[in-house]
C-alpha cells in the first residue's frame, strides 16, 4: 500500500534476525524496537497471526496481507513484562491474557488484564513459568464487564450447555428478547497441551497435536508436522504430501456438511440435518476405509503420513465424490428455496468487513465478510500450488453468507479430491512407508500456516538436538473468531444465538488448549 513501510523494511531496521528459524525469518527486538513496532502496527494492514509466551520472552507473528510476507518478532522480557499490543491489535488481548496465565508475562497497558485460561482450579499459578506459584487462597469471582441501563436483564448460560457441545460460559445481557451484549468466558477445556508437549519426543507431541481440536485433527496434525519439518529441514515424500491434502479436504467436507445441517436444524428445519448427517457419515466411512480412522486422527505424522491408501482407495474416493455430486446439489436447492429458512439466516448475525479485518479472522467467518484469505493459497503450501481451486468470498457477513461459503467450499473440495486422486504420485521406489524418519541430533525452530476447515492454524515449534519439543504453540483459528461472535449477536434476538454460534462453529478445545 502506498506510503506504508514494508514489514521487512521496518523489522530490518529495528531488529536483528535470529538464526535457524524456518521458513520465515524471526527477529529479536529490544524494548524500543517493540514500542516502534506497536507504533508501526497502528498505521498499516499487517495481520496478527499469533502471540505466545515463554518464561522470559514473548513472540508475535505477523503477515503483510498485501505482499504475503510473514515474520516472527521476539522480545526478551527478563522482568516478565512487555508492552501490550492489544490497543492496536485487539485480537492480541486474549492471547496476552493466556500468556499471562501460563507464563506469568504481564502485558503493560493492556486493554483488559483479567485472567483468561486460569480459573483458580489448577492448584498452581503460572504453571509453565520458571517459578510456578502457589494458588491464591481466596480467589474472588470472575468479574464480567459492567452493563448498565433501564430494563436490562442477564442470562447466564453454561459451562454445561443444553446440547451435545463443548463447555464454555456465555453471559447475555438482554432488553426483552434483544441481546444488548454478549460476553464470553472460555478456558473450561484447558488441558495444558502446551505444557504436556514440552520435553516430549516429536512423535508423542504429534499425538497431542492431533487432539487439540478433534474436528480439525488432520489440520492440526498437518500444521504441527509442517512446523517440525520446517525446523529440521526435512523433505516429505511427494505421495505423502498429496495424501495429506486428500485427508484435509475430506475433513473439510465432513465438517461443512455437518455444520450446514446443524445450522438449518437450529432454524427448526430438521430435514436438512437428517440429510446432511447421512452424507457426513458417508464421508467418514470412506475416510475409515481409506485411512483406518473415521476422523483420520494420527494419520498425518511428522515426516509424512502414517498409512497409505489401500488398493481400492482411489476407487472408493471417486465413488464418494460422485455420490456427493448427485445428492448435495438438491439439498442446496432446498436450502436456497425455503422462505422459512431464509427468514432466519438472512441478515442474522452480521459481522462487518472492517471488524473481520481488524481481528484478522479467517475461514468461513472472514470470507463471508469479505476477507479474502486462505492459507492454502497464501502463503500457500504443496500440493495446492499445483491444484486448481477457488476461494469463495462473500460480503454480506450474515449467517446465510457463512452457510454459502461452506456450500461453495464443499464443491471446491470435491473438485480438489478428484484432482488429487487423478494425480497422486506413485510411492517412490525403496520406500514401503510414505514417510521419512526424523534424524536426531538436529534442532531448530519452525513455523507453519495451514488452512483448516475453520480457518488458518499457526503452529510454532522449537526442537532441541535430541529431537524433543522444547516449546510448541499451536494457535487455533478460533482465537480470532470467538471475539467476533460477541459482535455478531448484538441486536439479534436470544433465539438466534444458536444460529449465529453454529454458523461460526468456533472450537472450544482448540482455543482453550
Amino acid at each position: 500500500m502506498y506510503g506504508e513501510e514494508p514489514l521487512f523494511g521496518l523489522l530490518n531496521r529495528i531488529g536483528t534476525p535470529v538464526e535457524g528459524h524456518q521458513p520465515w525469518p524471526r527477529y529479536r527486538l529490544g524494548r524500543d524496537g517493540w514500542l516502534r513496532l506497536i507504533k508501526g502496527l497502528a498505521g498499516n494492514g499487517w495481520s496478527l497471526l499469533g502471540l505466545w509466551g515463554e518464561p522470559k520472552a514473548v513472540h508475535a507473528a505477523f503477515r503483510e496481507d498485501f505482499s504475503g510476507d510473514v515474520a516472527v518478532v521476539s522480545l526478551d522480557c527478563p522482568q516478565g513484562r512487555f508492552p501490550s499490543l492489544s490497543a492496536v491489535r485487539p485480537a492480541a488481548n486474549r492471547l496476552e491474557r493466556a500468556a499471562h496465565d501460563l507464563y506469568g508475562l504481564v502485558a503493560e497497558r493492556t486493554t483488559d488484564p483479567r485472567p483468561w485460561l486460569d480459573h483458580d482450579a489448577w492448584g498452581v499459578r503460572r504453571p509453565l513459568s520458571e517459578q510456578p506459584a502457589a494458588p491464591v487462597p481466596n480467589p474472588g469471582p470472575y468479574t464480567f464487564l459492567p452493563v448498565e441501563g433501564d430494563g436490562l436483564h442477564q442470562i447466564p448460560v453454561g459451562p454445561v450447555h443444553a446440547g451435545i457441545i463443548e463447555p464454555g460460559h456465555f453471559r447475555f445481557t438482554a432488553n426483552g428478547e434483544t441481546v444488548v451484549r454478549l460476553e464470553e468466558r472460555l478456558g473450561y477445556v484447558h488441558r495444558g497441551v502446551e505444557g504436556l508437549m514440552q520435553g516430549r519426543p516429536v512423535a508423542e507431541a504429534a499425538r497431542l497435536a492431533a487432539r487439540i481440536s478433534g474436528d480439525a485433527t488432520v489440520a492440526h496434525s498437518l500444521a504441527f508436522a509442517r512446523a517440525v519439518e520446517a525446523a529440521l529441514g526435512i523433505e516429505v515424500p511427494a505421495r505423502a504430501v498429496w495424501l495429506r491434502a486428500l485427508m484435509a479436504e475430506l475433513e473439510r467436507i465432513a465438517n461443512h456438511l455437518g455444520d450446514i445441517g446443524a445450522i438449518c436444524n437450529d432454524a427448526a428445519f430438521a430435514f436438512m440435518l437428517a440429510q446432511t448427517s447421512q452424507l457426513r457419515e458417508r464421508v467418514l466411512r470412506t475416510a475409515d476405509s481409506c485411512f483406518g480412522h473415521r476422523l483420520m486422527m494420527d494419520r498425518v505424522i511428522p515426516g509424512g503420513v502414517a498409512a497409505d491408501l489401500p488398493e481400492r482407495g482411489t476407487g472408493l474416493l471417486l465413488e464418494l465424490v460422485a455420490e456427493l455430486r448427485r445428492r448435495f446439489p438438491p439439498l442446496v436447492a432446498i436450502y436456497d428455496g425455503k422462505a422459512s429458512l431464509q427468514d432466519r439466516t438472512v441478515t442474522t448475525g452480521f459481522v462487518s468487513t472492517e471488524l473481520v479485518t481488524r481481528f484478522g479472522a479467517g475461514g468461513h467467518v472472514g470470507r463471508a465478510s469479505g476477507r479474502d484469505q486462505d492459507a492454502r493459497r497464501s502463503p500457500g503450501y504443496a500440493p495446492y500450488d499445483e491444484l486448481a481451486f477457488e476461494v469463495p468470498v462473500l460480503t454480506e457477513g450474515d449467517v446465510n453468507a457463512r452457510v454459502w461459503v461452506r456450500i461453495r467450499e464443499v464443491e471446491q473440495s470435491l473438485s480438489l479430491i478428484e484432482q488429487i486422486v487423478a494425480r497422486l504420485p506413485a510411492i517412490s521406489r525403496g520406500l514401503d512407508h510414505p514417510s521419512v524418519p526424523l534424524e536426531a541430533g538436529r534442532g531448530g525452530e519452525g513455523m507453519a500456516l495451514v488452512e483448516s476447515f475453520r480457518g488458518e492454524i499457526l503452529t510454532w515449534v522449537r526442537l532441541d538436538g535430541e529431537g524433543a519439543v522444547t516449546r510448541c504453540h499451536p494457535r487455533d483459528p478460533s482465537w480470532f473468531q470467538w471475539p467476533l461472535l460477541e459482535a455478531a449477536i448484538g441486536g439479534n434476538i436470544v433465539a438466534d444465538f444458536p444460529l449465529c454460534n453454529k454458523s461460526f462453529n468456533c472450537s472450544y478445545a482448540g482455543h482453550d488448549l
Partner: protein, 173 residues
C-alpha cells in the same frame, strides 16, 4: 423437497441394524442396578452428555448416534437438555480441572436412580492428558463410574453397543 420426501418414503429406511450389546459392558454392569431402578426405568434412558475437557472428537461421534443411520431414539434412548431430565450422564474428556466443579454439580443435579458412563479413552484413563497440571485424570477420580466405553474416539457402533448394554441391564428382570 417433495421428491426427497417421496424417495425417503418409498426407498426404505437407511437405518442400520443395531450391534449386540457389548458383553464386557454387560458384565461390568451386572449387579450394579437394583430392582427399584429397573422397574422405574423400563426400557428407556435419557442421557445428558457432559464434555469435561474432551477434544470434541467424542462429541462428533456421539452426535452421529442421532443421525438416521444409527437412529438412537428407536431404542428409547435419547439425549436431553438438562441433568434434571436425565438417567445417565455420558461424560467425555480427562476432566479438565476447570470443569471439575461443573461436572460434580451436574451429577448432583441429576435425580436418582442415575448412572455415569465414561466415554472415550480420556474419560476412561485420562488418555494423553493424565498427569498434567490442568487435568484431574479419569472420570472415576471425581465420580463413581458405572460403564466405560473406550476408544479415541469410540465409534458410533461401540457407543451404541455400550448404551444398549446399559438399557438391557436396566430392563432385566
Amino acid at each position: 423437497m417433495l421428491k426427497h420426501i417421496l424417495t425417503s418414503l418409498t426407498g426404505g429406511p437407511v437405518t442400520e441394524a443395531a450391534p449386540a450389546p457389548a458383553d464386557p459392558a454387560l458384565a461390568e454392569l451386572a449387579g450394579k442396578l437394583d430392582k427399584a431402578a429397573k422397574a422405574r426405568l423400563g426400557r428407556s434412558l435419557s442421557i445428558r452428555e457432559v464434555d469435561a475437557g474432551s477434544c470434541n472428537g467424542c462429541e462428533l461421534e456421539i452426535h452421529a448416534l442421532n443421525n438416521p443411520i444409527y437412529d438412537l431414539e428407536r431404542f428409547g434412548i435419547r439425549f436431553v437438555a438438562s441433568p434434571r431430565h436425565a438417567d445417565v450422564l455420558l461424560v467425555t474428556g480427562p476432566v479438565a480441572r476447570n470443569m471439575r466443579e461443573a461436572l460434580i454439580r451436574t451429577w448432583d443435579a441429576t435425580p436418582g436412580p442415575k448412572w455415569l458412563v465414561a466415554c472415550g479413552d480420556c474419560a476412561v484413563s485420562g488418555g494423553l492428558f493424565a498427569g498434567g497440571y490442568a487435568c484431574v485424570g479419569p472420570v472415576e477420580e471425581v465420580l463413581p463410574v458405572d460403564l466405560r466405553i473406550p476408544g479415541c474416539p469410540p465409534r458410533p457402533t461401540d457407543l451404541l453397543a455400550g448404551l444398549l448394554a446399559l438399557l438391557e441391564t436396566s430392563a432385566a428382570k
